[in-house]
Symmetry: C2
Subunit: 196 residues, 2 copies
DNA sequence: ATCCAATATGACACATGGTTCATGTTTCAT
DNA sequence: ATGAAACATGAACCATGTGTCATATTGGAT
């Protein structure tokens, strides 16, 4: 297992990007095990050996995709919720932002779900970040009297579960209900479940 | 691919069971791709060839495990909820029953989650059954004025997502919070989210 | 007791696909 | 222009593991 290399050149940078992007498509579509390096490099338009210039292994490129998903999603969520005046509207905008993101990035979404089996450590790291942030936000809202008192940890997982499953309904099951309709319906239950 | 055979003898029946049970353990622990037929038959205490007497392929035994999980879980849930006088208490007892079941059958639980990638059709069939039943139960409770009016489909998915994620928290993340505490905390949010 | 279908064996044929490597090409600083 | 580092190639190596098959054993029905 050779050490992977970081590109020193615009050309190398472009190739690395092409491989990473191809990996996202191919692994997202076919799943980790059915996605071969041959498939990925064919999609990227380079030779198989080129893959190993930039990535140590198939597992490494997968791990990088998980990290990328986390980064992109955190960014999307903080943008979506930054203007929210209180916790309950942050919930609404966060859910809308999440669903919008996963519908725009179905391959990354499937990769995250598969990470539980392909790379549990990456999965944990990804999920733990969101769980921690969520719990703190809920604990703060509780302490500030914004919402009903209640276990912030269990609530954080419930809300993540709601988002995750509604995302799966859209991405995996191809449900076509408009995002805003789903958000309204879900938020009704969430807001009543959490409000004082 | 030879046709698989149904046992005609108590001996054959026992062997088939041993293989299925070993497959549950090994696939649940190591994941589908890292679980080899050799691992499964070693665990079952028979030769590799014996596997192919009773199962056409590794995929077939996996599919059967998904079906078994569905059967066992439906049974557990109907037992857990049969005495519930109304929808909201059915939710509470259903959640308790679900968590109790998955904690008792962590391997089957992981297999279901992996089915999305290993055998999407089996995953859909499993999930659709629960989604349909759930939606109908919620629609009936809504029509009967038992709960707040609202989209039964979105709600069904939200509630499944809550259960699924809390199950994952326990099984995959090893959270040790007592089931009853989790149920109480979750039910507070659910009942307020749904009640009139 | 005998026989035959059912059950069991485990070595091996075979396909797959990740990874390596010796070699070739491109880029760019000097 | 030139040399060296970066980049690219793809055939082949090699490990892995599924599924097959010729053969052996078991056990119950007659």
């Amino acid at each position: 297992m050779e050490a992977s290399v970081t590109p020193k050149t615009a050309r190398g940078e472009a190739t690395r990007r092409a491989i990473l992007s191809a990996a996202e498509d191919v692994i997202g579509m076919r799943g980790f095990n059915d996605a071969s390096i041959t498939d990925i490099t064919r999609e990227a338009g380079c030779a198989q050996g080129t893959f190993y210039i930039y990535f140590k292994s198939k597992d490494e490129v997968f791990a990088e995709l998980v990290v990328e998903m986390g980064r992109l999603l955190r960014h999307a969520l903080s943008e979506a919720t930054e203007a929210a005046p209180d916790r309950l509207s942050a919930e609404k905008e966060g859910l809308r932002g999440f669903l919008t993101f996963v519908i725009a990035h179905p391959n990354l979404y499937r990769i995250i779900q598969e990470a539980l089996f392909v790379n549990p450590d990456a999965y944990r790291a990804y999920f733990q970040t969101f769980a921690d942030g969520y719990r703190e936000a809920l604990a703060a809202a509780d302490a500030g009297g914004e919402i009903r008192p209640g276990d912030p940890d269990v609530r954080a997982w419930m809300l993540m579960g709601i988002a995750k499953t509604l995302g799966e309904r859209a991405v995996v099951w191809g449900d076509e209900t408009p995002i805003d309709d789903v958000v309204e319906a879900a938020h009704d239950m969430i807001v009543n479940g959490l409000k004082r």
